[in-house]
């Protein structure tokens, strides 16, 4: 029974990792950009939520209604003002600019909020649990978080394949110049993709902040978790990121159960093993 609990916890945290991964996968799919600052933007969203809950006195889940549009606006501005300039045939500019951005966000947060650990208080919901079977317990919050992850990914899937915006994303992804000839403003399309990515980041950031302590330095590790989930799941597949997140979450949970020092290591080792035997991931859609 103990192992069932462990695996269940792993699956549920996998939902959070899938949300880290979905935003990363989305912008890579649309504009072949890998955002090194992705993890730091998740932490930024957590701090925005912290400020909102403190100044407005609202609970974290309501704060989501504000954090999501704020982060989406940040994403749009970031892409229009900065990242669009880096896109082109050369790999270096987007990589190094987002790397610089990562350092700027980390140190900016450090300057504003110090290195102290913070946490969002969601109240009673945090500790509510219920029994799903004999000896198997599930927390309400992890369950909500997983359900939200499934909804987010389903929503992204719908946006991508059922809306005009999604059509623009796919067209730009397939061929940027032809998309432009058809009257699409690719700068705007890219900015919308980044806005959507940061909206997902906002949700992930709030759940991260409710679940555990956070400080300005934890961003890079979130980037790595998201990246591992993307690769395990297979490039370009939205549902793949959920599978990847769950595999990563379960590996970490099992590792932690064996030895607390092995939690992160187990996740990385499973990632490297999958890279060795199945480098295209489990549900690949595009070749990288």
């Amino acid at each position: 029974m103990q192992w069932v609990n462990v695996i269940l916890q792993g699956v549920l945290i996998g939902g959070l990792y899938a949300m880290f991964a979905a935003g990363l996968s989305l912008i890579f799919g649309v504009m072949r950009l890998v955002n090194i600052a992705h993890g730091d933007l998740i932490v930024l969203a957590a701090y925005v939520a912290l400020m909102l809950t403190q100044t407005l006195g609202i609970d974290p889940l309501s704060a989501l209604l504000l954090v999501t549009p704020i982060m989406a606006a940040v994403g749009y501005a970031l892409q229009r003002g900065l990242l669009n300039r880096t896109l082109g045939d050369d790999l270096l500019p987007p990589l190094l600019v987002t790397f610089g951005l990562s350092i700027i966000i980390q140190n900016g947060l450090l300057e504003l909020f110090t290195a102290d650990s913070r946490k969002l208080q969601a109240g009673a919901i945090e500790i509510q649990t219920f029994q799903v079977a004999e000896g198997v317990w599930v927390g309400l919050l992890p369950l909500i978080q997983f359900a939200v992850a499934v909804v987010v990914i389903a929503a992204l899937q719908v946006v991508f394949y059922r809306t005009a915006l999604g059509r623009a994303f796919r067209a730009t992804s397939d061929d940027q110049s032809v998309a432009q000839l058809m009257g699409l403003d690719t700068r705007h399309v890219f900015a919308m993709a980044m806005a959507l990515s940061l909206a997902v980041i906002a949700i992930a950031g709030v759940f991260l902040a409710v679940r555990a302590n956070f400080d300005p330095a934890i961003g890079p590790a979130r980037l790595i978790f998201g990246f591992e989930a993307v690769i395990i799941g297979g490039l370009g597949s939205m549902w793949g990121t959920l599978a990847g997140g769950v595999i990563l979450g379960v590996s970490q949970a099992i590792g932690a159960q064996i030895d607390p020092g092995w939690q992160l290591l187990a996740g990385h080792i499973v990632f490297l093993a999958i890279l060795a035997v199945r480098p295209e991931g489990f549900f690949p859609k595009v070749s990288g």
Partner: protein
């Protein structure tokens, strides 16, 4: 006979200036104080790390954000060899490089499956794995780290001053060796391939260059060099812990900023970049995290508006090269009859 000439007027001036600078720097223990020596040794290690990263990212197109994996590996190899096997520290530095190169082979096989930007994050995962493994090794202090035992330190040199001179000269020698090796590599036929690769990967491939092989070779070579520097860095520090050894800020962020500001894809870039970096640090160090923030912003501005860096601006404006790397073909015809009009 046709022949290729590397040197230009500016490179002759450059080499002469570098030679003078070397004599001045080599004699630093006779004119500088302790603080000066420490600062210079730190400058040397950053020039070396940045030059190696430049070879990797600027020439071979392998943008790694995980070179701290090899800095830390080198450091830990020094401590492991000196503490567990009682190897003399200087011998340990020399052994660290080859071991790291051997470790780099399976690592490269694995992460070369990732392309472009995903390769970058893959290197970071490797560095994280190394850091987490290092914190599991309890004989080397586990997560909290360990100091180099006094007996080992004393065995190096009888007095602290002599030891500091020794590590200073070691740092300078290593920098000169690494830079000389990079210049020699770039002047060889492999260097021509690398320069072609830097300018256009597809075109290079169509000229018959085995791109995958040369990338692999450069990755393993830089792992060798980076680990050697890493071992030396932690011989200076005398203490190691997983977080300092595998720090992404110290060994990758700074190194990337230096290379980008100085000029990526040019040998002179990292040298200029390091000088600018340390000047900025002297001015801004009191600002703490604002200093890092400024560095990040400067790197972004340079990347967007002067992607070839400071040296790139100078080189393009004046056609200078500080080191003899250019290739000019002098044809036999010209040599026989210099007055001939073409």
């Amino acid at each position: 006979m046709n022949r290729v000439v590397h040197a230009t007027k500016s490179s002759r001036v450059g080499v002469a200036l570098i030679a003078v600078a070397l004599v001045v720097l080599a004699s630093a223990p006779y004119w500088g104080d302790r603080q000066m020596l420490r600062l210079l040794a730190e400058v040397f290690t950053f020039v070396t790390l940045a030059s190696l990263w430049n070879l990797l990212a600027g020439y071979a197109g392998l943008v790694s954000v995980g070179q701290q994996a090899f800095v830390g590996l080198g450091g830990y190899l020094l401590f492991a060899l000196a503490i567990l096997f009682e190897v003399h520290p200087i011998a340990a530095i020399l052994i660290a490089g080859p071991i790291a190169a051997v470790v780099a082979i399976p690592v490269a096989v694995l992460i070369f499956r990732l392309r472009g930007a995903y390769f970058a994050i893959g290197t970071w995962v490797v560095a994280e794995v190394f850091r987490l493994l290092a914190s599991q090794v309890s004989v080397l202090g586990g997560g909290s780290g360990i100091s180099l035992p006094a007996a080992v330190v004393i065995a190096m040199a009888p007095t602290r001053q002599l030891r500091e001179f020794e590590t200073y000269w070691l740092a300078l020698t290593l920098t000169v060796l690494v830079l000389a090796a990079i210049v020699a590599l770039l002047r060889s036929r492999h260097g021509l391939a690398l320069t072609a690769l830097r300018d256009n990967e597809v075109a290079a491939q169509s000229c018959g260059i085995d791109v995958a092989r040369i990338k692999f070779f450069v990755y393993v070579l830089t792992a060798f060099g980076t680990a050697t520097v890493g071992a030396l860095i932690f011989l200076q520090k005398l203490r190691i812990s997983p977080d300092t050894a595998f720090s992404v800020n110290d060994w990758t962020a700074f190194v990337i900023f230096i290379t980008v500001i100085g000029g990526i894809g040019r040998v002179e870039g990292p040298i200029i970049g390091t000088i600018v970096f340390f000047l900025l640090r002297q001015v801004l160090a009191d600002l703490g995290s604002l200093y890092m923030l400024t560095m990040g912003a400067v790197a972004i501005v340079v990347m967007l508006w002067a992607p070839k860096g400071l040296w790139g601006l100078i080189a393009e404006r004046f056609g200078w090269q500080a080191l003899p790397l250019q290739r000019r073909l002098i044809t036999a015809l010209k040599l026989k009859d210099p007055g001939r009009k073409s």
